[in-house]
């Protein structure tokens, strides 16, 4: 079956512009995560959605970052007024059930470059 799909795969934007990153999780997966991966660093947690519950936004690095998950499926991560330090790979993952012993299924990420 289809895996987690992310778009675009690459995005180059000028400093100060807004960007939207999209994630289409595996059908039926109730949990959805956004992570950020920088070179040589571990995955940095950004936000977690579980079903209809309020998301855990505790990992968002600033108020320029926001995310939505519509209808319990597709999610978009929006970065406003991008800065050069926002350059990284943004990964989306979904899992079948709640709980951190449930394996995560990742998309291939969006590589964001802010010039």
């Amino acid at each position: 079956g289809a895996g987690v799909s992310q778009s675009p795969s690459n995005k180059v934007t000028e400093k100060g512009k807004d960007v939207e990153l999209r994630c289409d999780p595996i059908s039926g997966h109730t949990a959805l995560y956004w992570y950020r991966q920088s070179l040589g660093q571990g995955l940095e947690f950004l936000i977690y959605f579980q079903g209809n519950s309020a998301p855990d936004k505790s990992g968002l690095p600033s108020d320029r970052f926001s995310a939505e998950r519509t209808g319990g499926s597709v999610s978009t991560l929006t970065i406003q007024r991008t800065q050069q330090e926002d350059s990284a790979v943004y990964l989306c993952a979904s899992s079948l059930v709640k709980g951190n012993n449930s394996p995560l299924h990742f998309g291939n990420g969006t590589r964001l470059t802010v010039t």
């Binding site: 987690v4 949990a31 992570y35 040589g40 660093q41 571990g42 995955l43 947690f45 977690y48 579980q50 855990d56 990964l91 993952a93 709640k98 709980g99 951190n100 012993n101 394996p103 995560l104 299924h105 990742f106 998309g107 291939n108 990420g109």
Partner: protein, 112 residues
């Protein structure tokens, strides 16, 4: 605070030998640990989960150990092949029931 360490230097192994990667953690006692593989330009792919009451777990050529006294997990690939070349990440649960913390990964290079 909870911390995970993986060897940041690339590991070069001759084809056919056993590759061993290390994941060390401090300041807590996780109930389990996960290992993932990540290829360049791709997202991580789940490989194995081992629980604290399991000393060892195997899947084909992969073997994972979990030593809660040493606070360490070892990830072994036997009869290694060039196709095993990738970055391997370990991840452990946090105090929440849905968050993981991640090691930075170890790059494994299998030379023919």
């Amino acid at each position: 605070s909870q911390k995970i360490e993986q060897n940041s230097e690339a590991l070069n192994i001759q084809e056919g030998k056993t590759a061993t990667l290390t994941c060390n953690y401090t300041n807590y006692s996780p109930a389990y640990l996960q290992w993932y593989r990540q290829d360049p330009g791709r997202g991580p792919v789940f490989l194995l989960l081992i629980r604290e009451n399991e000393k060892e777990k195997r899947k084909e050529r992969l073997k994972v150990t979990f030593d809660t006294t040493l606070k360490q997990s070892l990830f072994h690939i036997t009869a290694s092949q060039p196709a095993d070349s990738a970055t391997y990440l370990c991840a452990l649960p946090t105090d929440s029931n849905y968050q993981l913390i991640w090691g930075a990964g170890t790059k494994l290079i299998i030379k023919p």
